[in-house]
Chain length 336, copies 2
DNA sequence: ATGAAAGCGCTAACAC
DNA sequence: GTGTTAGCGCTTTCAT
């Protein structure tokens, strides 16, 4: 059986309060008792029970984090940054992978938000409807990589990048490169940022005189295989000699899939077709000699998110800040 | 303030024991009381406090997991599999990324293993010395992707693949393909499986008549950039016309880096040089039209690990099983 | 079937 | 500076 604070107190001939004081440092303890207590702890191999402590002080030093898919480099990079930030203050991360499933996502969210298993919750690129965020909550909620929404929801914060602007930038580049035909492999309509990217892309093109229905759009999941399949469809009857096409895949992972599809057809990039991505994941610079993409500031998002949550948890005052909106920028490489 | 079991009991005019019984289902409760209690819960928005519950029943339904780097696809794939397995029984994963740092790894391990924050601990590809595992432990430990060691350590289990055999397989293929010159970009010497791969590779080559010092070896971290740099070094003064080389990079991620190095020099794969990897990460089939590699059974390892831990936690009897050793197989593709 | 009450291991008033 | 003790919110034995 593991030894408790009582055992230590008994062996050291002191009260449990004094034992508690030596490892919380809440009060001063005389040198004599301190050494005796330390000795007793050593002898008994005592480690404080964190569960009991949590119950008493009503704090777990744990933060929940929900991501759509931990194997997606974009998300794992964010998780890593957040982890780095919060572990400096000894917070732990409880990880949930929702598998892009809104139902699961909501389940995790609901169970975390009501119980007291964690001190705070971070949701990365959540897909739930806005109304679902209205659950009565006892812990702060931080939403990363999704535009802010305001509905009288309290103790909520947002960190995200301007995806509309990012996609706008990409369209500008494509125009500059003299492309005349455009396609967009967009993300699911349930993902706000997927829409922002598509809209930003369309906006620039419209500004340049193209009409909406001139832009082919295929909506798929943000995944390698979906990018591949979407591109295969786009390539049906495609003849680069007639009219060269630029396709904007709205995530690097689907751009990568798209590139493989093009390669499998024996077409050259960018000679026969241009491909652009979005996110600038770590691997992007190695895909097809360098994928042209938009820098989605992963590190900044993760870092900001971690710091924000830490701050919220230490001063213990509900979030009130305005959303943190980060800049996106163009990473021009070889695929366009 | 959040409502407690007491509030519910009061409102429903019953004892706390009865309230407890309705959501644990430990005892039967009459239909009348049950409905009244359910109603009271509803009214108060009651959610049981999981921390208090944990303290009482001495169980957290949480499993700690320590990986070297969550952004490495190999590890994130394992984490995902484990998560899938354990979440079926409502266990949560507390994630730690050690950053390939043995000190950090040991810290996490020590703090988890002594306290009661988690019911069990899974370590993926740990780098600690065997002696460090001898800490007095109150929870079961499961080591994944590292060969078993036996030192009278109790309540420990192992799930891993035979890396020696895998690397042996790769050497056989390279021999069959008529390569005459061999190099190995091996992992750190502190990683048992890195050594197993190098040894297995060497063993087959030795068997075929090559001597140890004919095999160039560079030891680096398992990362993209390390693979890149190692290959750059290997390429100094390299002339494919004289003698074509096969290089076995001991992880897909470093093989990928190596490939980029080769590409940057304008050499052709596999015409000018052969490159092989190890792990068969998801992306492997898309690297350079398909990276020839060894299937490291990620899914099986993750699944087995999850199930094993679940079983251990439910029957509550210390691990005693012999190590689970999985098969590796060759994935022959285009780079060799 | 239901309730009273002890107690999981700890912290923090409060008293000395 | 040190000890006593109530109590965090829950489960569970033991009466009834």
């Amino acid at each position: 059986m593991r030894s408790t604070i009582k055992d230590v107190a008994q062996l050291a001939n002191v009260s449990t309060a004094t034992v508690s004081n030596v490892h919380t440092g809440a009060k001063n303890v005389s040198e004599e008792l301190r050494t005796r207590i330390l000795w007793a702890m050593e002898v008994l191999g005592y480690e404080p029970n964190v569960v009991a402590r949590s119950l008493k002080i009503n704090k777990t030093f744990r933060i929940g984090i929900i991501v759509p898919d931990i194997t997606n480099p974009f998300f794992s990079e964010i998780v890593k940054e957040i982890d780095t930030a919060v572990s400096k203050k000894n917070y732990q991360l409880v990880l949930f992978s929702s598998d892009y499933d809104v139902k699961k996502e909501f389940q995790f969210y609901a169970s975390l938000v009501m119980g007291n298993g964690v001190d705070g919750l971070i949701m990365v690129a959540p897909r739930m409807e806005e109304s679902q965020f209205k659950l009565n909550r006892s812990i702060p909620l931080l939403v990363v990589d999704r535009p802010a929404f305001f509905d009288g929801i309290s103790d909520i914060a947002f960190v995200y990048a301007d995806n509309y602007a990012g996609a706008f930038l990409m369209a500008s580049l494509l125009l500059k490169k003299k492309y005349k035909r455009f396609a967009c492999i967009a993300g699911p309509e349930t993902v706000p940022n997927a829409n922002a990217r598509y809209e930003g892309f369309k906006a620039k093109l419209t500004e340049a005189g193209y009409s909406s229905n001139e832009i082919e759009v295929i909506r798929r999941e943000f995944s390698f295989i979906d990018g591949y399949e979407a591109m295969m469809k786009l390539l049906e009857g495609y003849d680069p000699a007639k009219q060269k096409m630029a396709v904007f895949a709205c995530s690097d992972i689907s751009a990568w899939g798209a590139i493989e599809a093009v390669n499998s057809k024996g077409l050259m990039i960018p000679e026969d077709i241009g491909i652009a991505g979005y996110d600038n994941i770590y691997f992007a610079k190695f895909i097809q000699k360098g994928l042209t993409t938009i820098e989605n500031p992963t590190k900044d998002m993760g870092g900001e998110a971690g710091e924000l949550m830490l701050e919220r948890l230490s001063n213990n005052r509900p979030f009130e800040s305005s959303p943190v909106i980060l800049e996106s920028s163009l990473k021009e490489r070889e695929t366009v």
